[in-house]
């Protein structure tokens, strides 16, 4: 090694010392697991014996002979399409309305809207609302309004499971991106609005489209990443309400299948292939959204 190079490494030693502790943990528990998943997805691995390379066999089985995966994948896509864009639009819309209020009221309302995200463990309360007998809240309300005459089995009737899941998961979806949007609206330069009203912007919709959204693109990108990440991880919430497997595998997601193969059947290679497919989907969705957002306001 040349003297110069030695010197430069020494020069940055402090910098590396500062980032090393965090990065070590980050790589061990975030990056390495992704790499392990990708590697194991090309092997047969049952935890006891050493992994055996089997090429694309896992992927072939996944896409061509596993009907349950096809079902899980389409369920995941449907749920993600409702929860991702749905949660995103709700977060943005509600934050926009809150921005109309004076700070004190805004703080108060923010707390109410964010409260469900704070109460992760309380999610099971929806079991009481959706309870299939007439003591369930939804049934009792609909019964007393004479909209239905018999209690509905919300959590096991395949006609109602998806909407019920969507409502209860959306209930918890005003998370980090919601807070980011509220703060983002505050950062939009007030003089832009003044100038715009001189330039002939006459209502709040034009103001939103021509001024607010273009100045909030960075927040909107951050919010999109958070929403996509959350929407493809749907699984535990469904297990809590509908059980796993849910009736007729109606709400069986890729995350459920991942758990089945990883923690129950110990087919780690196959489970890793499922995880890798999810990585690819999450990555592609993010890239697509990035491209779409880049077009807004131009």
């Amino acid at each position: 090694m040349s003297k110069l190079k030695k010197k430069s490494i020494f020069k940055y030693a402090t910098n590396y010392a500062f980032v090393l502790p965090y990065l070590t943990i980050f790589f061990l528990f975030t990056v390495l697991p992704v790499l392990i998943s990708i590697f194991l997805s090309f092997t047969y691995y049952n935890v006891i014996e050493t992994p055996v390379f089997n090429g694309l066999a896992n992927y072939q089985r996944l896409f061509f002979s596993d009907d349950l995966f096809t079902k899980a994948l389409s369920n995941t896509m449907v749920l993600a399409l409702i929860i991702g864009p749905g949660g995103y639009v709700l977060s943005f819309g509600f934050a926009w309305i809150l921005n109309e209020f004076k700070p004190k009221i805004r703080t108060f309302l923010t707390f109410f809207l964010y409260a469900p995200s704070l109460s992760g463990g309380a999610f099971a309360i929806w079991a009481i609302i959706y309870s299939g007998d007439r003591y369930g809240w939804l049934n009792s309300i609909l019964l007393s309004l004479n909209i239905i005459s018999e209690p509905i089995q919300w959590l096991t009737d395949t006609n109602y499971m998806l909407p019920c899941a969507a409502v209860s998961i959306l209930w918890m979806s005003l998370g980090t991106s919601f807070l980011s949007f509220i703060a983002g609206f505050q950062t939009v330069d007030g003089s832009l609005y003044e100038a715009a009203s001189v330039d002939g912007i006459t209502n709040r919709w034009q103001e939103l489209w021509y001024i607010t959204i273009p100045s909030m693109l960075p927040q909107m990108m951050f919010g999109a990443v958070m929403s996509i990440t959350a929407s493809f991880g749907v699984g535990p919430q469904i297990t809590a309400l509908f059980g796993n497997p849910s009736t007729n595998y109606e709400l069986y997601t890729v995350v459920h299948q991942l758990e089945d193969y990883g923690s129950t059947r110990f087919e780690m290679g196959y489970a890793s292939a499922i995880a890798t497919v999810l990585f690819v989907i999450m990555f592609v969705s993010n890239e697509v959204v990035k491209k779409l957002l880049a077009k807004v306001g131009h």
């Binding site: 309305i97 809150l98 209020f101 469900p116 505050q186 991880g233």
Partner: protein
């Protein structure tokens, strides 16, 4: 009450539109808190009132029986409740403190210093924000097993120190809230990196670490059964309480009491940190 005093006044606003938005957002807020009020109501209902038709939101004869029953059940088990509680406190405090300490040190470098690899490393961290951690739980188990962390509280504490969201928010906040000039001045005065971190960076990033406190406590306090811990005496409060509440219909009131107790901590922390969190979030934007 004057409408004017509640909303920001601007020229291009119609009064009818403002009223419609207000009514709408109040309805949304009511929908959001309804399930939480339901839990609160159920927690104070006697058993006889839990199954009424039509159901009532609030109890007729409020009672604290559910809470006293919960405590007698909890202390009657083989592992005392205080043990679960102390496990959760250890996890929450160590996981939060460790995360703030390590991520602020690292974020300081990414925000204010340039060194070979700094760009690439930060890009990887931003990329990792899009991967849901649920998906990596299996290889995570393998890594923990290799490191001998399985069935110890470290299995929860150590990984949480390296989560990417906190670092990302911290770095963005430092970039905009700490003027380079102060750091340069300190460097000229002969302060070393550690002193700059301790005396300049940390005191100026209070909103960011308050935000990290909220995010960490929110997840760690609710840590339940995550498959990494098997010994009963190492399990968490959320796990123990959920076991007590899950034992059938006659425990429904107790289950509600459990939820109420679990909610107190994140709710109070949010109320306490809200303005700081908002300050941090205003710098959360993602540039390209």
């Amino acid at each position: 009450m004057k409408l004017k005093s509640l909303v920001n006044q601007r020229k291009n606003r119609s009064l009818s539109g403002t009223i419609a938005l207000m009514v709408f957002i109040l309805a949304v807020a009511a929908f959001m808190v309804f399930p939480l009020i339901l839990i609160l109501g159920n927690a104070f209902k006697p058993l006889s009132e839990l199954w009424l038709f039509p159901p009532r939101l609030l109890p007729i004869r409020a009672t604290t029986d559910n809470f006293t029953d919960l405590f007698s059940l909890a202390f009657g088990s083989t592992v005392p409740l205080t043990r679960y509680l102390s496990n959760t406190i250890v996890i929450t405090v160590a996981g939060t403190a460790g995360h703030i300490f390590l991520s602020s040190m690292c974020a300081f470098q990414f925000a204010k210093r340039k060194f070979p690899g700094s760009k690439v490393l930060f890009t990887i961290i931003v990329l990792s924000l899009m991967f849901n951690a649920t998906v990596t739980s299996i290889p995570n188990y393998l890594v923990m097993a290799k490191l001998g962390l399985i069935d110890t509280l470290w299995a929860i504490i150590i990984p949480t120190m390296g989560t990417p969201l906190g670092l990302y928010l911290m770095k963005n906040f430092m970039e905009t809230s700490i003027p380079d000039a102060i750091i340069e001045a300190a460097t000229v005065d002969g302060a070393n990196e550690w002193v700059i971190y301790k005396r300049i960076v940390m005191p100026n990033t209070k909103p960011a670490w308050m935000t990290l406190i909220l995010l960490q406590v929110q997840t760690l306090w609710a840590t339940g059964n995550n498959g990494f811990i098997f010994s009963e005496e190492k399990k968490t409060l959320a796990y123990a309480l959920s076991q007590i509440g899950a034992a059938g219909l006659e425990r429904a009131g107790i289950a509600a009491a459990v939820s109420v107790i679990m909610l107190i901590v994140p709710f109070s922390i949010f109320i306490f940190t809200q303005s700081n969190v908002m300050q941090t979030m205003s710098t959360s934007g993602m540039k390209d």
